[in-house]
Subunit: 230 residues, 2 copies
């Protein structure tokens, strides 16, 4: 049976939510046929059945799972015979570390860098909601944010040092082939790629080659949506 | 048969090498009886048989293994029936991420903070060697370094954000019980605790409680050496 992934929808059919990309890749990793159900920022009614207000939401048979981390755990537990996302319990706990690192170190400068671009790539009917909720979070207007955005490029690149260091030793964060920790970081790059033409990583950065390998996975799943190429 | 761990020796029988602590805990995790062989900074002759110049060096039966990461991999492969350090291959790769994070984010500010203290706690006969080699690495004198040390306390504490975030969700970096990623970070705290009375983490930091749990492991192995208490 096809599972349904409710994921964020932007203008021009864009899909740029980093958390939804984690879920997309996790589902592909488990070889599950998936129907993507697009949900604009303000279309909360579409996922009201899930009991909460944010995508991704996965409906798999009789199960409804919210939150990208919980979706990954559900998939690895439920489809234990398909390739593993985490390895065992120790691997899952350590992948949580990578998720936390992404949350505390990588996202903050990147959100500052992208906030105005996300607004520009939201559906017109979602822009007022996005502006209001995010300006509150940022403590400044999107225009002020855009003005200061260039200051966040270098901190973003610096935040990626641990991942860069890992790739000196192995092809993927999870070793010789990709798994969930890779999908965590890849979602971050899909976020940038979905809303901004700015090359957030340099072409000679080992992370660029890694990202290109990630874009190739699952018959180019990461390239299958409207995005900026670099 | 008892294995032998060659580890760094400081003044007053101190053992403060972060990498040697990783090996100590990994051996205890595997329940291996271990003889610790102390090696001062300049006693390279004691480990010349290993073909290189840095501790830790593990001699286990006919095997000699250098480098804390290689030691952990060797132990997990060789003693696969004892509790796992990494979980499976995905877990091992992800633990490598934690090691890289520690290397690129946590060590640099902490080394700046501790360098002069390490010198003060090296054996008198090792101090000239330590000074020369580390002043070269730091690009400044140990005295200049000591003067600027207080500026590195806050960056060090900030560098620990991902670990702090992890501990909101689980008791150890590796989940409900400790494994190698915990030993990586614990070594860092043992380094500080071995040479400086400065409380590098605040008492109300969740990492303080975690560190205390780590000190309790293996009948208080981490407390079994001369160190500063806080």
């Amino acid at each position: 049976m096809t599972s349904k992934l409710y994921e964020l929808l932007g203008a021009d059919d864009r899909r740029f939510s980093p958390y939804c990309w984690r879920a997309r890749l996790a589902l592909a990793h488990k070889k599950l046929e998936t129907e993507y159900v697009p949900v604009g920022f303000t279309e909360k009614d579409k996922i009201a059945f899930s009991g909460q207000t944010q995508v991704p939401v996965l409906v798999d048979g009789v199960s409804t799972i919210c939150d990208s981390w919980d979706i990954a755990c559900y998939l690895d537990d439920t489809y234990a015979d398909a390739p593993t996302l985490f390895g065992d319990a120790v691997g899952r706990a350590t992948a949580w570390f990578v998720s936390c690192w992404n949350e505390t170190e990588v996202f903050p400068p990147l959100f500052q860098l992208l906030a105005a671009d996300i607004h520009a790539h939201a559906r017109p009917e979602d822009q007022a909601y996005f502006r209001e909720s995010r300006e509150k979070r940022l403590g400044q207007s999107l225009e002020q944010c855009a003005e200061q955005a260039p200051n966040y490029l270098e901190p973003f690149r610096l935040s990626l040092r641990p991942a860069r260091h890992v790739l000196k030793h192995q092809a993927f964060l999870c070793g010789t082939s990709p798994a969930y920790a890779d999908y965590i970081l890849f979602g971050t790059f899909q976020w940038a790629r979905g809303v901004s033409p700015l090359a957030v990583i340099k072409r000679n950065d080992p992370l660029h080659a890694w990202r290109d390998r990630m874009l190739d996975l699952f018959d180019g799943l990461g390239r299958s949506v409207t995005a900026y190429d670099y």
